[in-house]
């Protein structure tokens, strides 16, 4: 099972692109990462991580990373429902208030936390079959 990391976080790209497949959506927004995951799920990819990982809300952090894998059983309905719910929840927050333009220091903090949310999933679970 090949993991594919979809991210707009440069720290995630830098750390993992040598050993894993990474789709790096440079300068893209939070929702763009969710849409990219959704598009692949409709092509039978399966979610390995929860799209709403982390307590930072979608209108707060600009960074999102999601891990998917090529499925072998056609469309995975659970992944479809999960990504659509996540998109809907993100849109709800962004409707109330957009993501601010943060300083570089704060952006760096957001990147660090997003990377941390992925590290456990990427490094310690690589042998698990879905």
């Amino acid at each position: 099972m090949n993991k594919l990391i979809i991210t707009n976080n440069s720290l995630v790209f830098e750390k993992y692109h040598s050993n894993y497949d990474v789709i790096y959506l440079k300068d893209a927004g939070y929702l763009d990462v969710l849409y990219a995951a959704r598009d692949r799920i409709h092509l039978s990819y399966v979610l390995l991580t929860h799209p709403m990982a982390g307590s930072l809300k979608p209108n707060q952090t600009p960074y999102k990373s999601i891990i998917v894998a090529q499925g072998e059983n056609g469309l995975d309905i659970e992944s479809v429902v999960l990504i659509e719910n996540s998109i809907s929840a993100a849109q709800k927050f962004l409707r109330d208030r957009g993501t601010p333009s943060w300083s570089e220091k704060i952006l760096s903090d957001f990147r660090t936390v997003d990377l941390s949310l992925m590290e456990d999933a990427i490094q310690k679970r690589s042998l698990i079959a879905i």
Partner: protein, 428 residues
Amino acid sequence: MKLELGKILIQDVQFGDKTEVVNGTLFVNKEEIVELVLEDDRLIGADVELARPGEAVRIAPVKDVIEPRVKVTGGGALFPGMINKVEQVGSGRTHALVGATVITCGQIVGFQEGLIDMSGPAAKYCPFSKTNNVVLVIKPADGLETHDYETAGRLAGLKVAAYVGEAGRNIEPDEVVVYETKPLLEQALQYPDLPKIGYVHMLQSQGLLHDTYYYGVDAKQLVPTFMYPTEIMDGAIVSGNCVAPCDKVTTFHHLNNPIIEDLFKRHGKDLNFMGVVLTNENVFLADKDRSSDMTAKLCHFLGFEGVIISEEGYGNPDTDLMMNCQKVSQKGIKVVLITDEFPGRDGKSQSLADTVDEADALVSCGNGNMIIHFPPMEKVIGTLDFIETMIGGYEGSLKPDGSIEAELQIVIASTIANGYNRLAARGH
């Protein structure tokens, strides 16, 4: 396992030459606290301030809140696996300085939690506006990596809370409450006609600033397990979560878990409180499958007839909440959920990020998206620099006069999802 909790009621906090409790007043020696904190060379600065109920004081940004306690008798010591050895706790006698807290304050990341107002309209949303608080403001070494700063901050708070708690060791408590859970089969036989109720306690476990520890084990690494309820009262569970102020479970809230407290109040009267299943909220979906399967298995194996489930957080944890609800229900066990909601400013959107058909009984802890207005405070402990970047804050939240307009979720523990607050929701 049986624990006697001796409650020493604290009505005031003052600085003094000796850290001690005298007639309900907690005195703390500032220099000794600072010296203790600076033993960790990851921290280069520490200051101690006091904040009392009713004062025009705002504390921000808050990392953790801990109730000072001390293990008087019984095995182990407070916060096992964190600042003390891993020896099992939860039995014997423990004293608590009730009405006092240690609060850690200091910037770890630019957007962390959260604020506490000691008076004014925001005070009613936070239990720590009513406690006498020893506030520890910490400063990291230059360039200290974020994970290391979080660890240092977490340990500093626990060490100071244990140090202050020592002042209660030889004081006669104002009240002693006895909590007892017998081994499973004996417990079942003690009240054979009462329904067997379990509590599924979901621990935040996603990564940096989103972690919880059980005897020092990172909850991300746990498989669901069974805990005697009194273990939590000696600090077996410690918070490393520090991002979403309103529903983050502080270490104080672990020590004083209200679901455990209320289940014990009714234990032997209209229910038989059998114990606590601990589980986690990992990001990896296969971990969620495993943990929810095992949670349901444990509840069923242990003979629960009804279960209360609480979570920490929003979004990702809502999926765990629903998986636990569904799988436990499918074992024929009645389930009630407790959680807070994020239905948008107007309250009309979906409250949770996930749902299942079996989630038909839920007690709400309030809406974190509500906007509230807080007046300026005369004194700020910490800094207001990060108000607009905290969850619940936004550009323009902090007004020039020091007043704040923000979502309720900026206030520490305002909608905490284990019910230790004063908000609810009703259907019409």
